[in-house]
Symmetry: C2
Subunit: 326 residues, 2 copies
């Protein structure tokens, strides 16, 4: 428990430092450009205002109307295709905001829709990701056999490298496609794909918003939807491989077992990640059996007969405080 | 494996149906209102255009300038406070888009920042969430003891209910606060908190964007940041409790062990969720020990001596294909 709290505290400090550093860098990169843009904009707007002689009130009204007109200029956002697009941005939590419910009823439905849809989507993409990883593992194994290796093994490192390559390829392919269809530069299209597939979804670049694509270009619409869903699968697979194991699961076992290591956790010093993934340092069999006995005692209400191996030998009271964060 | 693929297939069909239903409902709720707003906007803009006699080119220029001016009107977005706010929206994947990097270098840094920051944030919030769940469990246990229960137990149902209440309270408190500070209705503030804490982050409502709050109201700025981070902890805790167990983890064990159940998985029919969480249906101890032997054989290179219980008794070849999705 204490280790888990220490781990948590360390992570929190990490995040806060990360935010401070990020803030400083973004400030340095963007602040001056922001001032420049602001000055230029004010200049141009002043020119137009002088040219036409707007009243202050009309000036504000023009601005307001222009802002409200933006989604409309991109085409109908709430026909079926647009609504499907919007529904994707909700349950994947991308949330571009290119369109957002205007009616209060729409907002209410949106919240309930997200409430059920987001967990469903999380589970689905992790499930798909796990299947993708299994497929990649099989392919790598087959490839190694073809290369004539006698006892082919697919290590975690192999999988992570493969994962990185697939992610990079997915982003690059998407970038090429959207650069072509949207008329963006390759860099901006790559940025768009990255911001989309990480589900950040700023909305500064949004596909399907020019030339009324949602209504007029069904194949491109289908491609965009498929790209987002498949791309999220690829990213989900990578996260599943690399991050999921570090997520600390709440124990479900009540009382004493919960204060120990919870049901059948693979012990590893938390700060180092799962040691069972590293060859040469597996947790002992006797520790496993000890955990089993603890679990059996707390959940089945009995103590299994003494197992072979060093169960309990030298291990009085608490097992060593090693936990794998699932 | 086949069960896992079937599970995945079922989830995918589920998601597709969910998207179709959502699209239909959003279409029904928003489409007509959209037409109405569009007509009204066009009318007003036509009036103003007639009043001042814009050329078509100047009309488009006015629109463009108004759109670009929007973030500036909300105050300086890239000073330290604004950059910190932005950094939060990146690593939490909220991504309002109220501000987005204007420079290409800013975009590049943003991508690298997200690449490291997002997994770090995921792990941190899950870790915090697990600690919060542990605390809530202890409090509930203490409360039950105070109520005089002899053998107090905190069930999963207790925890889920407590989680729901804490989430609802968090949203309501945030709604009250932002309604007050931003001048929104309670409903719109609630909607803002919900969209923020689910990390959807449309950007239709964004705090700290009026009255140059980022520069002029440090206490309110601090409150907003804290609210987002603590709120995400609460949501993370709830997800940790309810969803994490359903996330299918990729197995790490190579070869044969990978095709079975992977290291020490608690067996449960996947579609039903973890049966070990339900009293009266724990997996057998003999099955556990069998899994242990399989793991030991594949990872340690030896077979532990025969354990007591029904190890191998009646279980030739593959263990029953039951897997708990972690």
């Amino acid at each position: 428990m204490r280790q888990q709290s220490a781990r948590t505290g360390a992570l929190v400090l990490c995040i806060l430092s990360y935010l401070l550093v990020g803030a400083a860098v973004f400030d340095a990169l963007e602040s001056e450009a922001e001032s420049g843009r602001k000055r230029l904009l004010a200049q141009k707007r002043a020119e137009l205002r002088r040219k036409y002689g707007f009243s202050a009130e009309d000036d504000r009204e023009l601005e307001r109307l222009a802002l409200q007109a933006e989604p409309h200029r991109a085409g109908r956002q709430w026909k079926f295709a647009g609504s499907f697009y919007f529904a994707i941005t909700v349950i994947t939590t991308i949330g571009y905001g290119h369109a957002a419910p205007g009616t209060d009823l729409g907002k209410v439905f949106c919240m309930f829709y997200a409430l059920l849809g987001i967990p469903l989507t999380l589970v689905t993409f992790q499930s798909l990701g796990e299947r993708l990883n299994a497929l990649v593992r099989r392919l790598l194994l087959a490839a190694k056999r073809c290369l004539g290796l006698r006892r082919p093994r697919v290590s975690t490192e192999n999988m992570v490298l493969a994962g990185l390559l697939v992610c990079a390829a997915t982003l690059a392919l998407g970038a090429a496609a959207f650069a072509h269809f949207e008329g963006w530069t390759f860099f901006h299209a790559y940025y768009y794909c990255f911001i989309t597939l990480t589900t950040i979804g700023f909305g500064d670049f949004v596909a399907l918003q020019s030339d009324e694509a949602l209504q007029r270009k069904p194949p491109y619409v289908a491609f965009s939807f498929l790209y987002i869903l498949l791309g999220l699968t690829v990213i989900g697979a990578f996260l599943n491989l690399v991050v999921l194991r570090f997520l600390a699961a709440s124990t479900d076992a009540p009382g004493r077992a919960a204060r120990r290591a919870g049901p059948l956790r693979l012990g590893a010093p938390e700060s180092r990640g799962p040691s069972w993934a590293r060859p040469g340092n597996p947790p002992s069999v006797s520790y496993r059996i000890h955990q089993l006995e603890v679990w059996a005692r707390d959940n089945l209400g009995f103590s299994p007969p003494a197992s072979p191996g060093a169960v309990g030998g030298g291990r009085a009271g608490r097992p060593p405080a090693r936990r794998k964060s699932i």
